[in-house]
Symmetry: C2
Subunit: 87 residues, 2 copies
C-alpha cells in the first residue's frame, strides 16, 4: 500500500537558526564545502484504505504546516521502500 509523505520546509526567505547551527558545526567535522543547510519536517501518513492525497493536503494545511512561514509538498511513496522510494 503506498504511503503519503508530506515534506514541510521553511519558506526560503525565513531564517533557519537550526540549519544555521548545523552549518556552523560542519568545519569541526572537516567539511568546508557546504553552502547552506535547511531543516524541515517529513511526515509519513498511512491510510487504512486507499491513500488520499487531497485529504493529506488538507491535513498538512490545517495541522502540519504553518502556511505563513512554511511551504509543503505532498507525494506518494511505495511502503516497501519506506523512506527511499522513487529515488
Amino acid at each position: 500500500m503506498p504511503r503519503v509523505v508530506v515534506d514541510v520546509m521553511l519558506k526560503p526567505e525565513i531564517l533557519d537558526p537550526q540549519g544555521q547551527a548545523v552549518a556552523n558545526a560542519l568545519p569541526r567535522l572537516g567539511v568546508s564545502d557546504v553552502a547552506s543547510v535547511r531543516i524541515g519536517r517529513r511526515i509519513e501518513i498511512d491510510f487504512t484504505g486507499e491513500p488520499d492525497l487531497d485529504r493529506a493536503r488538507e491535513i498538512a494545511d490545517k495541522l502540519l504546516a504553518n502556511p505563513v512561514i512554511e511551504d509543503f509538498t505532498v507525494h506518494l511513496v511505495e511502503t516497501d521502500d519506506t523512506v527511499d522510494a522513487n529515488r
Copy 2:
C-alpha cells in the same frame, strides 16, 4: 545545481508521540481513515561545488541522525524543483 536531501525518521519500532498526537487530532478534522502518522526530519544541504553524497552521509551519521533510534536516507534532488523534485 542538485541539492542533497537527508531524510531522518525514527526506526519503526520506536514510539513517536508527536506523530501519535497528530493522529489523535485527526478525528476532530473529520478524518477517520488514517492508520498512523510518523514525523521525522528533512534536511536540505547545498554544497558550494559538486554535491557529495558520501560527505552528506557522513554528516548525517555524525551530526543529523541518532543511529540508535533513527534511520536516514540520502538522495539528490534538482534545485529548481526544490522540495518536490523527482515526484
